[in-house]
Symmetry: C2
């Protein structure tokens, strides 16, 4: 099968590598606005050839949109205008805005909304690695709006990446993603800002980071190109979760301020219940 990957960053690049390796893709065409990304992807043999978006959509059976979410919003309607028997998927971290956008498109059935829940804090074709998706979950949204064979193709794709799939509505996806991913990124960004603001002795930060900081702050390396549009598109859910989060922090603040060790014990005991699910 001929596969086009639009956006040759961490996700698109890693997907290209393993779709080729697993035999799912016989030919891989890569598209990226940044010439240097295309060249790197060719040099690294992540893709077989480069192309224009239009010619790639024409020549391929499956088109994967792996660009930041604000660009999916721009590209998806154009690509859908052009498809007939092809299947188009996106792999973005928000789903509701995109679902609303193409709801009435005549080729809506050819599009499957997906979100493979995997990543690292790095970006670009050089960050692409094999095995990134293995045993992680991919969400498939609003399957009732898709052609049956399109959903089958997408399930087959994720099987080739060793990813179990879960089906839910775009609305549910965005709520869950706010809880398990988006708030973690804000928490981490804010932590980095806090430390960078007050702690001028970088030697100390660096040396003492094994005290837990390294783990919680890892996500703060994530790029604005990816995260500003995600937080913007999922603003409603993110703001609701952020309010709850700041409320919980305030309970810690009050307990520490008043030396209320009983409440601190209770808060930590409750937080420990996360052991059951993780």
């Amino acid at each position: 099968m001929n596969v086009a990957v639009v956006g040759l960053g961490l996700i698109g690049g890693s997907m290209a590598i393993d779709l080729k390796k697993s035999g799912f893709a016989s030919k891989l065409v890569g598209i990226d606005l940044e010439e240097s990304h295309v060249q790197q992807a060719l040099d690294l043999k992540i893709i077989d050839e480069a192309g224009s978006l239009e010619s790639a959509v024409e020549a391929c059976d499956l088109i994967i949109l792996a660009v930041p979410v604000q660009h999916i919003v721009e590209l998806l309607p154009k690509v859908l205008d052009q498809v007939s028997t092809q299947v188009v998927i996106d792999v973005g971290s928000t789903k509701q805005v995109i679902a609303d956008l193409v709801r009435a498109h005549p080729n809506r059935q050819r599009y499957v909304a997906t979100h493979p829940m995997a990543g690292t804090e790095f970006s670009g074709p050089q960050a692409a690695i094999t095995g990134l998706f293995k045993n992680k979950v991919s969400i498939i949204c609003d399957v009732e709006d898709c052609a049956i064979e399109a959903v089958k193709l997408v399930n087959d794709l994720y099987e080739h990446l060793d990813m179990p799939t879960m089906s839910m509505s775009a609305q549910d996806h965005d709520l869950h993603a706010a809880y398990v991913s988006h708030i973690s990124h804000i928490s981490s960004f804010a932590l980095a800002l806090t430390v960078l603001k007050k702690e001028k002795q970088q030697y100390n930060i660096f040396s003492l980071a094994s005290g837990g900081f390294d783990s919680t702050v890892r996500l703060a390396k994530s790029s604005k190109e990816m995260w500003t549009p995600i937080l913007n598109q999922n603003a409603k859910n993110v703001l609701s979760v952020l309010e709850t989060y700041m409320g919980e922090l305030d309970r810690f603040r009050k307990a520490i301020e008043s030396g209320d060790l009983v409440t601190l014990d209770a808060l930590i005991t409750d937080a420990n219940k996360i052991r059951k699910v993780l």
Copy 2:
């Protein structure tokens, strides 16, 4: 050298394992209030023999206090009352309260305040592992208050654990620790509480956790026995850092609420500077 380890949890147990393995300790005596911990440490061959605190202090050259910080406050003065040529260290996560406590003790010079910056979210003798400390930094505080040979012994100890040491005042230690460790734990506890409160479909949490949540929430498994006293003893620094942290979160909240993508970009770009130090 005969070494007594008081508190056979993750830190004390892991230290015992590698002090024996590296040849620093010829005999290791273990003390713990919990009988089951002592028995486990004997069964796991983490210690050579069990003993009472009093007899262990009498029989050993070095006494390591590896109990939660509120118990260090209870035990350290008693142990110092009893020592003559022995050296006593603690490995707790706060230093100022303990330093103030023994400032005027006649045997103050025999005590060296240390904080090996290593750990996991697990606890108890079964969590003890070899190599926990390797290439992590240990802080040694207020060396000017210690006998020279006591500091030498402690440097030798950390060299046997492959830990570089840094010297600073107890006051500086507690400020840095609030930034690089204590705030991370509060951030993580609050994140766990947020998700557990709102997200009732645990299957979703669990499956989607690769979206970043797993990394930021790892520390939320940490125990109240360890963390309530740390947050209490370092309340002043922790509250100051927490205030800054909540202020940074509020900047994100406002930018998301008003759809201010320029500010979001700027916040994330600033946060990304953490790449330079980590």
